[in-house]
């Protein structure tokens, strides 16, 4: 729920990093916090346990500056990934404008990724939101690890695509981030759409800003549409 405040001339958008425990959601935010100029960001708030596992959420506001007279700000949130914190996860999704699913590429974490993705769909549906119509993308993190699954395996498990019913949208749409790949395409006579994806190593920052840039642009586009 982006809020446009004409009185104070502010636009605030809420982005949520979702995904399985220890997948790198907090690391994404920490990298952004450390790299963005201090004038452009607020405090990083972490409600974490003593062992630095996210308990409720991490929060980082990032200022985009003043655009056409509007102070534009993104509020970045992470959710706790551990399965039993579902109640908190659901709360954080309230009013979300864009979602980044941070998947753990390690083959051993495939099950956890799938479970978390299912949980995201369920929680969004319970809020009455539709993941296929709001800005949503997937980040395959930990690409540097030797036990990382291939992108093809990850895409097949986590991003197989949802059917495109609207005839107007049934046309091939290239993936702007991967040459030769498509976000909308026809497979076995069925039109499907996938979420854009990014590869990342959040520990070193690789792919972190690419992901954030893409989701921010999608969110702003949804404001203008």
């Amino acid at each position: 729920m982006s809020m446009i405040n004409y009185a104070s001339r502010e636009i605030n958008c809420k982005l949520v990093y979702y995904g399985p425990g220890l997948g790198g959601k907090t690391t994404n935010l920490e990298f952004v916090y450390n790299k963005v100029s201090p004038n452009s960001r607020g405090k990083l708030i972490s409600l974490a346990t003593e062992t630095e596992r996210t308990l409720f959420f991490d929060f980082l506001p990032v200022d985009l500056g003043t655009i056409r007279g509007f102070k534009t700000r993104f509020h970045l949130y992470t959710v706790p990934g551990q399965v039993y914190y579902n109640a908190s996860r659901k709360l954080i999704l309230k009013g979300v404008d864009g979602v980044v699913f941070v998947a753990d590429s390690q083959i051993e974490r495939m099950e956890a990724n799938i479970e978390s993705m299912q949980n995201l769909y369920d929680n969004m549906a319970q809020h009455g939101y539709n993941l296929t119509t709001i800005p949503f993308l997937i980040q395959y993190n930990k690409r540097d690890l030797p036990n990382a699954a291939t992108i093809r395996e990850l895409q097949a498990a986590l991003n197989p695509g949802w059917p495109v019913e609207d005839a107007v949208r049934q046309k091939q749409a290239p993936d702007p981030y991967h040459e030769g790949e498509f976000l909308v395409e026809q497979l076995d006579g069925q039109w499907v759409e996938r979420a854009p994806y990014f590869e990342a190593v959040a520990m070193t920052g690789e792919g972190v800003f690419d992901t954030l840039k893409a989701v921010s642009k999608l969110v702003l586009k949804s404001l203008g549409s």
Partner: protein, 164 residues
Amino acid sequence: MPPGASSWSFREEDSTRIHSILSDFLRESSARTGMIVDRTGQMVAVVGEEPSFDPTAFASLTAADFSANDQLARMIGEPEFGSLFHQGEKESMYLADIARRVILVVLFDSRTTLGLVKLRVRGTVGELRHVFEEMFTRGASGPAQVETGFLGEAEDEIDKLFGA
């Protein structure tokens, strides 16, 4: 705008009305600061003494606090906790729900009492509910939009800030 993710916009005249209601409340209750935070964690208005803390962080924590307590209420069989009170040694805060969409936060100290704050909050919540319900109805009739040209400039700023 996708279904469910309803946007709402906030106009100059809304701000004026809210400020006037909150100013009256602060005068009558002798509280220090009155704030309106929306349930998604965004600060909508601050009236009275300017707080020394980061208002953005404060708003996100307030919304989380209220939402967590909402769930606790449900667990014990209550539909909601309409208000919350956090007592400190010197500073205290009182939070009250408005129309299930925004939260009134009152900061007060020993210059007043919880009883007086609670008493005055009741009427103020009623007045604010009226204002916000009007805003939400208006929001439902057409999504908030930004002017054309905004998007292009915003994309440039994103590239600048996050690296092209």
